[in-house]
Amino acid sequence: MLDWRGVNLQLGGRTVLCELNLQLRPGERVGLLGGSGAGKSCLLRLATGTLTAQHGSLSNGFRHAVLAFQEPRLLPWCRVAENLEIALRAAGREASVARCLAREWLARVGLGEFANAWPQQLSGGMAQRVALARALSVAPDLLLLDEPFSALDPALRGTLIELCRVWLKQSGAALLCVSHHPDELLPLVERFVLLQAGRLLAFDPAASAVHGLSCALPCG
């Protein structure tokens, strides 16, 4: 499990996280809320290990934490399927297995026919779907999502949230998902936490409270 106590993170002389405590058990699904610049993305980066905290106890028992970024971050010189294959190879899959899994996941996000396209030939929403497929395909035991549905139209957003929900149920992976729209996370998460002034506050997962919070959160 993930167990952080008294975590302090400073970036460029600014305190981003202050005496932060967070516990995440295997299979637990948590929605992370907070205003723009609250440090939500930094918190996810801490979980992946690409950022290092200055103080605090950070214990991470998860085998593989994968972050689906706010932007797709696909390798522009690799074809769409290759982007998935490379990530799968990095996760230790055999080349032939990686090739099959890449095609399978592209089909699952409705982009099977774009396997040989270049990322620049995709729309923003399509690229975001590829990025999501890449994150799920490597089978992490901790999935970190940084507003992955923001570039999608409502119908597609619902489809992909359902895809994530089913995958999380089947895989038993834990989830920490950032969003400005708590209501869209309701099918995915069990509880919400709010990041405010560098600290995490617990929230009642009742839909009414969440809707109230949605209005209070600054968008961006």
Binding site: R45, F69, R73, L75, C78, A90, Q120, V138
Partner: protein, 256 residues
Amino acid sequence: MISRERRPTSRRWALLGAALILLGWQLLALRLGPLLMATPWQTVQAMAGLPFEADFRLHAGVSLLRIALGVGLGCALGFGLGLLAGLDERLRGLLEPLRWLLMATPPVVVVVLAMLWFGLGSAMVIFISVLMLAPGMYVNTVKGMLMVDRDLLEMTRVYRFSPWQRLRHLYVPALAAPLGAALLIATCAGVRLVVMAEVLGAESGAGFALANARSTFDSAGLYAWTLLILLLVAGLEFALLQPLQRRMGRWQVAHA
């Protein structure tokens, strides 16, 4: 309205340019006489006869080997050090004075020193090529490394790319444009450097044959070897480097 469309170089005008050079060459050769300058036709005839000369294979083979080793080792050294220096600013600082020293030293000074250290022969020629070509490759690699997209770099860390995967799928493609240009410059400069070093201090190779032709007033032979060297540079550029650059940049073409 001004068209901003990028047009390819006109082949018709390039052919006209080549024809004008040939015409100028012919007129100058007629004016200077066969002792100082062979005509284009005499040069072509001499070049056609070169393969039948006794030492042609030896000279051509030795030069090709020196070019391959000099350019290959020089580029590999520059690229390798550039990669490491791109990742570590302390190493970058450490190598900066050496980079400046090598880029500012005139090649002829290096030739003289290398002749003193290694004597005449292949070691001297290859040493000069490596020392003169590596800094250009190094500078282009470091600049490219510093411009690699930080977001993509972070993505490779999150997905746990191995160093080899990071090199293959991130750094090399991201560096394709500066490296392609650096490789082209290094190859052309490498041929020139090898021939120059051979002229000044070698006992075999195309440069040695050139020096021989000059000392025996074999004007046609001199120009034939020169033309052969030009054809080699053209062959390397059109058959090897340009297709490589096209392959590395195909994703940009797809986007255009």
